[in-house]
Symmetry: C2
Subunit: 347 residues, 2 copies
DNA sequence: TTGTAGGCGTTATCAA
DNA sequence: TTGATAACGCCTACAA
């Protein structure tokens, strides 16, 4: 199974006519080496297509040159920019990235963390909140760099709430200006409360100050609903929107939820923004292409991921200058799906 | 930087009052061990929170328990289901997954492959075609399992062309039935020709047999175009569609291209399917939610990824029964965006 | 069923 | 500036 033709350091040393110590020094760049020796070593290494065995190196140096990324759910596209940013940053610095999907399961999270621990990753980046924070607490105590977006942003002086508050305020004011007084906040299930709790709190706060009524609507739908589920959802939304004191705005908690809701709304012949305005967290070309185009709050996860990774690499000593976390505030992109509140006859 | 409190095998052996060999045998499950010894070892290991050092184990056994995934471009969401499937399959079998983004760059691909090689990954799964096949050729010669979707599917007896041909035939016949005779096949740039070459060939073949004219239209647009780019694209599409003998169908090569084109079409006031029908490769809830809903060809990358990973793990001896590759054919989902060909006055 | 001991490939120490 | 050598933590003949 293992590579067979790939030589080891001794072969290179023999080929170059030097000792293994010299080869190591030259190739790792640590320790002195004469120009002549370096030359001989390099050409020997190239000739034998030699690559130092990372396991041996890790064992000896106690640095695996691997960082782990723990993702709550790899099915959710919001984590892709995040993962990409981490990988790119790490790759540039010579680190490999092990991706571990938790699948929203406590058991699997434990397993993945053990595996990462066994691999002796040099650091751990979490794309969301861990299911069991106590478990990663141990890592921290062992001195291993561990970060998640929430604590990272908070420690950097830009808590995620602060990044979100501006855009959320804009949305609410925009809605108020259009005469809306009742918002229905749509979530997939109860679980999302934990992850995006700060959003809910923030919106609630702003709404209170603007005398807007805010209600949470748990949809409990799948990301790929069948025709039946969709019909049912359509019925539910129709009843909701056409109720005497129903919301005149639907605010989707996540980008994956949005298209499902939109399809149901279309099925229920609810006109946007005529019958009801619509906003969602998370932008994409599809939201812009939709007619009416969908107003969104865009948050740049890749900026957060980049900053987290840079900070982590810096702690590992692989980034000389301490990175200045450059987190971008969430942005409200007003489009056509938000408009004047409909006149709705009460009772 | 490294974990400090985590004990090594000797500590566990001392704690359990046995030799390190016994600890290894018990915890790895290889070799004999009495029930009593196993009991003592397990509780000692639990007490010390011991996890065998993977680097040491790799070094000794020449198996890293890591598989690498080479992705052409982590920004493209089509690779997410693929990556997820690989990770899940691997994780269940005790393997970690290193994800390596090539960023469509030859230099980075070489770097990533070297890194994976240095980590002595037990296998390599490529999500797309490598930029430089010769490089992975070496891996194969060294006896390392390497697969990509194209050769895997072909070797499994279900070449990707065969998986795609049914759906493509259906689309073409559907279009012919609606009276279409001219198709514009939209691609982002010249690069996509290599990756999805087989699609183009297949469509061409079917179109010839149905006397449909097929033209390739290279858009050269970004995935997040600015307003100016969009206007320009709109102009171009308008001219294309309203030309005397312009296409009456636009067929998008990829799911990331589709929304951009749709937005441009909306900008140009081109009515779907009134002025022009529209199909795209790749499904998503947004395609279903769009009005008119978008006809798509859905291909299940995760099924391919799962089969590839299963086969690879089997080769590594971690899967007892040889997996039967269960590849699903591409599926044509007819929706509203495909309709009767418009009557277009010539010249 | 158990323990002893050698070595996997690399790097850091130390003496030359 | 170089080379000999001793670990790093684990696994596995082999001997008991």
């Amino acid at each position: 199974v293992a590579s067979s033709t790939r030589g080891d350091i001794r072969r290179v040393a023999a080929e170059a006519g030097v000792s293994t110590a010299t080869v190591s020094r030259v190739l790792s760049g640590r320790g002195p080496a004469s120009a002549g020796a370096a030359q001989k070593v390099r050409s020997a290494a190239a000739k034998l297509d030699y690559l130092p065995n990372a396991s041996a190196s890790s064992l000896r140096t106690d640095r695996s040159m691997i960082i782990g990324v723990l993702v709550p759910n790899l099915a959710n596209p919001v984590f892709l920019p995040f993962l990409r940013a981490v990988e790119q940053m790490a790759q540039r610095r010579g680190y490999s990235v092990i991706v571990a999907d938790t699948q929203h399961s406590d058991r699997i999270e434990a397993q993945q963390l053990d595996r990462l621990s066994a691999q002796r990753v040099d650091g751990l980046i979490m794309a969301g909140r861990p299911r069991n924070p106590a478990r990663v607490g141990r890592w921290r105590r062992d001195g291993l760099p561990v970060t998640d977006p929430y604590t990272f942003a908070a420690e950097a002086g830009f808590p995620l709430e602060s990044l979100a508050s501006g855009a959320i305020g804009q949305v609410c004011r925009d809605l108020a200006d259009f005469g809306h007084t009742r918002i229905g906040y749509l979530t997939r299930g109860a679980g999302s409360r934990a992850t995006f709790g700060h959003r809910w709190e923030l919106i609630g706060e702003v709404c209170r100050s603007l005398a807007i009524e805010l209600d949470r609507v748990t949809l409990g739908v799948d990301t790929r609903p069948g025709p039946g589920d969709l019909r049912q959802l359509a019925g539910r939304l129709e009843a909701l929107v056409h109720a005497p004191h129903g919301p005149t705005v639907l605010w989707s908690n996540s980008h994956v939820l949005a298209p499902v809701v939109l399809e149901a709304l279309a099925l229920a012949h609810i006109d946007l923004p005529g019958d009801c305005s619509f906003v969602t967290f998370g932008d994409s070309p599809w939201a812009a292409a939709y007619r009416p185009s969908i107003s969104v709050i865009e948050s740049d996860m890749s900026a957060v991921a980049e900053a987290m990774t840079a900070a982590l690499l810096h702690r590992l000593g692989s980034l000389d200058i301490p990175p200045v976390p450059r987190l971008t505030e969430d942005r409200y992109i007003a489009r056509e799906s938000v408009g004047p509140a409909p006149n709705r006859r009460a009772g």
